[in-house]
């Protein structure tokens, strides 16, 4: 089933990398992009994505805080926090927010596993 996916990262290159992987994994999905938490929240309210990929380390509100807010707005949305910071505290917080943890650099394999679980 075609889904709507929200990609949030302050780095344009990182968004390009995600979209490249999506082109291989889910070419038919609709993509929405945001470069910060405020843009992301506006898109969550107005465009109702089904799945969201959130970068952790962003200026302003980070991806974990964003995950908590999105959870309140859209309890059923599948969330993943993407981070190069693999410290156990970060992974634990992602899980506590009900989000998948995906390590950066993002691989097609790990993204594919998340997308499979998200669309089960």
């Amino acid at each position: 089933m075609t889904q709507k996916i929200l990609i949030v990262d302050d780095s344009k290159l990182a968004r390009m990398a995600v979209i490249k992987a999506l082109n291989a994994l889910r070419p038919d999905w609709t993509r929405l992009e945001a470069s910060n938490a405020d843009e992301a929240l506006a898109l969550v309210k107005n465009a109702s994505p089904d799945v969201a990929l959130l970068d952790f380390n962003m200026p302003g509100k980070d991806g974990l805080a964003l995950a908590v807010e999105i959870r309140q707005l859209a309890p059923a949305m599948s969330l993943a926090v993407i981070s190069a910071n693999h410290q156990i505290e970060v992974i634990d917080r992602a899980r506590a927010a009900g989000a998948f943890f995906l390590p950066k650099p993002l691989t097609e394999k790990s993204l594919g596993e998340f997308l499979n679980s998200a669309t089960k």
Partner: protein
């Protein structure tokens, strides 16, 4: 002031360099976390290309605060120097965090140089290694050295004498929260290395991002 080097990298190349630094420092923080057994908080990296004088000023030269730096020289297709910098007043605290808190002060002081050098080595190697791997170029990294002083000392170390012509100043805070240790990482590259780096970043962008769309993010 905009240095000559500032115009060299495009927005996307700066973006790529920032992402690489983020990857590198995150790896380094993971190693540091193992050493201090506490979470290491990282700021969002800010990469700026500036002239040497600006870099010195941004280190707070003149406010009298003494700093300590662990530095390593790297060589390969690009050549430069990486520094891990923090206030000298925090240096013993970092040593204590790394070697454990039970040692008497005298012994800690004996270990200080060695522990600082080793900590710097782990962080800077983690950072440089990750960046080099992602750019698919290897770097030879010298042994760490500990220096005390300020920006004017740190940014005019030899060799190579001309290394600080154009400075890539990477500012990232790392914070060991329980101990209030803050520090940052700087990288110095000369102008020819910066030009080489630009080429490497271009190829990295092709590998990583090619085929990814370039839409403007929007909040509709």
């Amino acid at each position: 002031m905009i240095s000559e080097a500032a115009v060299v990298l495009t927005e996307l190349e700066m973006d790529a360099l920032t992402e690489l630094v983020n990857l590198g420092v995150s790896n380094a923080a993971l190693s540091l976390r193992e050493m201090v057994r506490e979470e290491v908080i990282l700021s969002v990296p800010k990469v700026t290309i500036m002239a040497r004088e600006e870099a010195i000023t941004s280190l707070g030269e003149g406010d009298g605060r003494r700093l300590v730096a662990v530095h390593q020289h790297f060589q390969g297709d690009i050549e430069g120097r990486a520094l891990l910098i923090f206030p000298e007043a925090k240096s013993m605290e970092l040593v204590r965090a790394v070697v454990g808190g039970d040692l008497p002060l005298e012994e800690l002081m004996e270990l200080e140089q060695e522990a600082l050098a080793e900590t710097g080595n782990v962080i800077l190697n983690g950072c440089l290694g990750t960046i080099a791997n992602n750019l698919q170029h290897s770097l030879k990294i010298s042994l760490p050295e500990v220096v005390y002083g300020g920006g004017s000392e740190f940014f005019s170390l030899a060799p190579p004498p001309n290394v600080a012509d154009g400075v890539v100043f990477i500012y990232i805070n790392f914070l060991v929260r329980e101990r209030d240790i803050k520090g940052y990482i700087a990288m110095l590259l000369d102008f020819p290395s910066l030009v080489t780096l630009k080429g490497m970043l271009g190829r990295f962008i092709e590998r990583v991002g090619e085929g990814g769309v370039v839409t403007r993010p929007h909040a509709s």
